[in-house]
């Protein structure tokens, strides 16, 4: 029941990993592709806007110039029409409304742009008026700009710009100054700009706007292209992100599998090393047993004719018994070392536990290496509640490393110290120490400075994990040729 659940959660976890990778790849690729694209688009868009504005401006300028010329020509024509009426200037001295009406009709037959016609005297008074706005008859034009200009100026005619005037409608005024018999008479005609424009348009050959349409097309096209590009880019990004995520995912899964296999191999190597160590510890007393038993057999063998005393035999058998218990000691300690897997909290004196290791499992190794063990135990340290099996494994590992680092005679100092509700356990050796490079890697799995086959490089990493698991910390100080010092800090009560 547990296994399928495990698989399902595993699959779900893998799914999450894949999704995470995909999201990551998508974001990265999007930024990678679209940021430059966006910047380029913005840049070209701005450039384009400037170009369009310039083109538009010159186009309008051209148009205005062209229209002005057209208007000038048109108004010139109209002025000529008006001039035609002044063949006999004396008729303007006492202008009659009916005559004016006729003239207006004549003018309008030439161009409908003529709205009305009037005759003014030198003081701006209207002498006669023909047209749709009779109230203008009573107006006086003395104050009008065009009037003063015409009366004062040398020119005999004036054409105004479009203005509102008394009638409050846009119009041109064109006026002629005549002086029959010394009297000043002004013939004024008003031209409607709307009609003028309509008439001008009829004459003007339609000029195609210079590229305006094309530019506008480009504007819409750019957005269309951008949209298309984004669509295609998005598709490409999506596909590529999926591909990248898939690759990374497979690599990760492979790496996990490899790690798992490596872990397995490391465990096997550890077992192998342990087995070799155990073999040595057990084979030596077994060899004693074998030799002593053989000796007793030989002594009792009539062929050798030794006739041993029972005291001699008892001595030999006693040594056999001792050797057997040496083996038992080793197996028992080994079980104590291996057994604990789950955290098993017990209240025990750490000092007794350390002594047990130093005088038990490690005694022969320390003796062989001519290593002196100094103990600086804190007498105030109470019994500790922790997983002593695991702590024992850590201390054993530290002591073994310390012993291995010492060549020739040396000293290992084991110290404990109570610090509030925690305590420290320090193992210091007079061995060869470590370089700063080695020091950095010392807790990494598989890192070892020992010769091939002498160490798995797992001891310290496992120890580190155990101490962290027990709510503590592990630290190291070391320098080449100055020995190493490992400090384990743990709570008094787990």
């Amino acid at each position: 029941m547990a296994a399928p659940d495990g698989f399902r959660s595993d699959a779900k976890r893998h799914d999450d990993i894949y999704r995470g990778l995909l999201r990551h790849a998508l974001v990265r690729l999007t930024f990678l592709y679209f940021i430059p694209l966006l910047l380029l688009t913005l840049f070209f868009h701005l450039q384009y806007r400037l170009v369009v504005r310039d083109a538009d401006h010159s186009h309008r300028e051209l148009l205005a110039y062209h229209q002005a010329a057209m208007l000038e020509m048109y108004l010139g024509d109209r002025l000529l029409n008006l001039t035609d009426l002044t063949d006999d200037p004396r008729s303007l001295l006492e202008p009659h409304r009916d005559d004016l009406e006729t003239h207006l009709a004549d003018l309008q037959s030439v161009s409908e742009a003529f709205i009305d016609l009037s005759v003014l005297d030198g003081s701006g008074r209207v002498l006669a008026y023909a047209g749709p706005l009779p109230f203008l008859q009573k107006q006086n034009y003395r104050g009008e700009a065009w009037f003063t200009r015409l009366v004062a100026g040398a020119s005999s005619h004036v054409i105004t710009d479009v203005y509102l005037g008394f009638r409050e409608e846009p119009h041109f005024t064109m006026a002629l100054k005549l002086e029959p018999r010394g009297e000043t008479r002004i013939l004024r005609a008003v031209v409607s700009p709307e009609i003028a424009r309509a008439q001008m348009d009829a004459q003007v050959v339609e000029i195609e706007e210079p590229g305006g349409g094309l530019l506008a097309n480009i504007a819409t096209n750019i957005w269309l292209f951008s949209a298309l590009f984004c669509l295609i880019g998005g598709l490409v990004i999506w596909l590529q992100a999926r591909w990248v995520a898939q690759q990374q995912y497979e690599a990760q899964i492979k790496e996990r599998q490899l790690n798992r296999q490596l872990g397995q191999a490391a465990k096997l190597a550890l077992v192998g090393e342990l087995a070799a160590g155990i073999a040595h510890e057990i084979n030596n007393p077994l060899a004693v047993v074998s030799e002593k038993a053989g000796l007793v057999k030989d002594l009792l063998d009539p062929r050798f004719g030794k006739n041993p005393t029972s005291e001699q035999l008892r001595d030999h058998l006693g040594i056999i018994e001792k050797a057997v218990f040496r083996c038992t000691d080793i197996t028992r300690q080994l079980l104590g070392f291996v057994r604990q897997r789950d955290v098993e909290l017990k209240e025990k004196d750490v000092h007794v536990e350390i002594d047990d290791l130093v005088h038990g499992l490690l005694s022969s190794e320390l003796e062989v290496g001519e290593i002196t063990v100094l103990k600086k135990y804190d007498p105030d340290l109470p019994a500790i509640i922790t997983d002593h099996g695991q702590l024992r494994q850590v201390v054993l590992n530290l002591l073994k490393n310390a012993a291995d680092s010492i060549t020739g005679p040396g000293t290992i100092t084991i110290a404990t110290k109570k610090l509030g509700d925690r305590f420290t356990l320090t193992v210091r050796d007079t061995g060869h120490g470590m370089t700063p490079e080695a020091l950095e890697l010392v807790f990494m799995p598989f890192f070892t400075t020992k010769a091939p086959g002498k160490g798995t490089g797992l001891g310290l990493s496992v120890s580190y994990g155990i101490i962290e698991g027990l709510g503590g910390h592990m630290a190291v100080h070391s320098a080449p040729n100055e020995g190493s010092m490992f400090t384990v800090e743990l709570p008094l009560k787990r």
């Binding site: 030596n284 030799e291 000796l295 030989d298």
Partner: protein, 166 residues
């Protein structure tokens, strides 16, 4: 008495495990070996200089000078002394090292006594073979010198070759 000593194979046993050392020594004495036992490498080297041994049994793991170092130093000074390494350790790495240094054999502890006796016999045979070959070569050399050199020079050279045997 001198004859009896001369007829026996002279064997040196080096092991830090005293109980083992004594029992094995006693049993091999019963089997007509002339046995000397020491508990460390330094004592073994001293003894090798004062006495001539045919064979040596050396434990690999000992405090101070270990078996491998002792093997190398013995082989450097006494090339006809055949060494058999004993060890309780199961690894093959040290066996290869010892073979390179000139050990005749490598025997894991504990062993059957017959096994040890067979290895000792083979080691002694090896020693005789090498010694015989060396003796033949030396005899040939001696004869050559005797034919060529002046009597005084010949005598001095022959004495040198005779001393080389150790």
């Amino acid at each position: 008495m001198t004859d009896a000593r001369e007829n026996k194979i002279k064997l040196l046993i080096v092991d830090d495990e005293i109980d083992f050392l004594e029992a094995l020594g006693e049993r091999l004495e019963m089997r007509d070996f002339l046995v000397r036992t020491v508990a460390n490498g330094t004592d073994a080297l001293v003894l090798c200089d004062s006495e001539k041994f045919d064979l040596a049994l050396i434990d690999l793991k000992m405090p101070g000078m270990d078996g491998q170092e002792l093997l190398a130093r013995i082989k450097a000074e006494h090339r006809f002394l055949e060494v058999i390494i004993l060890t309780g350790h199961g690894s093959l790495g040290s066996a290869v090292e010892c073979a390179k240094l000139g050990a005749f054999s490598y025997l894991p502890k504990p062993y059957q006594l017959d096994e040890l006796l067979k290895v000792l016999k083979d080691a002694y045979a090896e020693r005789l073979k090498k010694k015989f070959a060396a003796d033949t070569a030396r005899t040939r050399e001696l004869l050559k010198i005797a034919q060529e050199d002046s009597p005084r020079g010949t005598l001095r050279r022959m004495k040198e070759l005779d001393d080389e045997e150790r």
